[in-house]
Amino acid sequence: MKKLNKIFALALALTLLLSLLVTASAEGFRTLDEIKASGKLVIGLFSDKKPFGYIDETGEYQGYDVYLARRLAEDLGVTLEPVSLDAPNRIEFLQSFKVDIVLANFTYTEERATQVDFALPYMKVALGVVSPDSALITEPEQLNGKTLIVSKGTTAETFFEKNYPEVKLAKYDSYTEAYIALLDGRGDALSTDNTEVLAWAIENPGFTVGIESLGSLDTINPAVSKGNETLLAWINEEIVKLGAEKFFHADYEATLRETYGANADADSLVVEGGEL
């Protein structure tokens, strides 16, 4: 009898302790001052989406988005703490305050804007479709009845679901899995941002981007948790300021020029100073 009471008491105490620990960690987003005080800026980045966000063999993050991430941390006077995420988790990471900013090639959509706050754009993008040379897809209608590979949580997924319901979608959790699926012939084509599929097609002979621009011309913007006004305002100031020094053109030269080649036009992709 005494032993049992002790067990119950211990169990109860542990449960209370656990719930205390857990509720203590449920905070809100970090304001600009809190970030400066903590000495680190937590940014969500892709870790397997070359050349926009990936990890090189020295273990460092590299890419067009990462270049901006590093500059933001530097200008704020704090260290960058990168957090790896995949397309379906971007909104959720901001809503649960796991990161301060998401710089994971995040396309602005009105629907997403109801759940997170977007800053000024830094890149132009539309959808593209890449397929094998032997069975090139040049029109979206050709995909009706065929299988299209998409990554979960991307604009490609929503676009095809809404506009081309006859297309069978094979959805994967990460870009790596999606590309391997295309290489293995698990789908007839793959669709995501055209900037991305173009880069991939260049590096993978045997595949071509048959549809270079599908859907509306969108932008890629940094995103913060809803309501984080101080951080949002600061990012917007930064982007305008960086426009004056042509930062994003330098970013393009440093991270994308090698992939797209000497003849590619940086202005087709870059948005300087937040102005289209």
Binding site: T158, A170, K171, D173, E177, I180, L183, D184
Partner: protein, 223 residues
């Protein structure tokens, strides 16, 4: 609790449950066959094949299904061996399940008292008759609880099939969650769906165990 949402998505969950159950049962069926085969190979000490069976069991029992599936689905095609998503699901589940079933069968066979085998030989049964009328029923009675536990385990393991881009129960729930929220309702339906699948299996297991209990009475060490 948004009941309208729940009712609207019941068809999605039904199709997901159908995929889970279908490939889960294919995997279970093949596992039983493979498990029995491996067990018999080791029991009759067939040279070479016995060691292969033993090695396979070690490999399958010490690696997670998720890792096996990634290797089958995304790794092997890079060297030319390509299976469809559905085939990978069944192969992966069979690879894992066969080892567990083999162990269950082995514990069943080992539990049969040697005296029973000898008694069977004494009264003039051939080896085949001995196995069929004496050893097997008793072995099965002991093995059945473990076998059914493995069936439930394997059906639960199907929850990782989403990495094969198959629209099983987990993938249906995950897609609904990422595309619109309503997390509570989505998870509630997921739990309900798995209960609806697994409870009948568990009830079936109890019924079968009860009916087979008679076979174990000859073996004073069982039950």
């Amino acid at each position: 609790m948004d009941v309208a949402f729940i009712l609207a998505h019941v068809p999605d969950y039904l199709s997901g449950a159908f995929v889970t159950l279908r490939f889960g049962l294919y995997g279970v069926g093949c596992s039983l066959v493979l498990g029995l085969l491996c067990c018999l190979l080791r029991y009759f000490r067939v040279p070479v094949l016995r060691q292969i069976a033993g090695g396979y069991i070690e490999l399958a029992r010490n690696t997670p299904l998720l890792v096996q599936l990634f290797f089958l689905y995304a790794g092997l095609p890079r060297v030319g061996i390509r299976f469809s998503a559905e085939a990978c699901a069944v192969i992966g589940l069979t690879f894992l399940g066969g080892a567990y079933m083999a162990e269950a069968f082995r514990s069943g066979i080992e539990s049969v008292d040697k005296a029973q085998v000898e008694a069977g030989a004494c009264i003039g049964l051939t080896r085949g008759q001995n196995i069929r009328y004496v050893i097997f029923p008793q072995a099965l009675a002991t093995a059945v609880p473990a076998l059914f536990a493995n069936v439930i385990f394997l059906i639960k393991e199907t929850s990782v099939f989403s990495v094969l881009a198959m629209m099983d129960l987990m993938n249906v729930a995950d897609t609904l969650r990422t595309s619109g929220g309503r997390t509570t309702e989505v998870l509630f339906m997921l739990v309900a769906a798995y209960l609806l699948i697994l409870l009948p299996v568990s009830v079936l297991a109890t019924l079968v165990e009860r009916r087979l209990r008679y076979a174990g009475f000859g073996n004073q060490h069982s039950v």
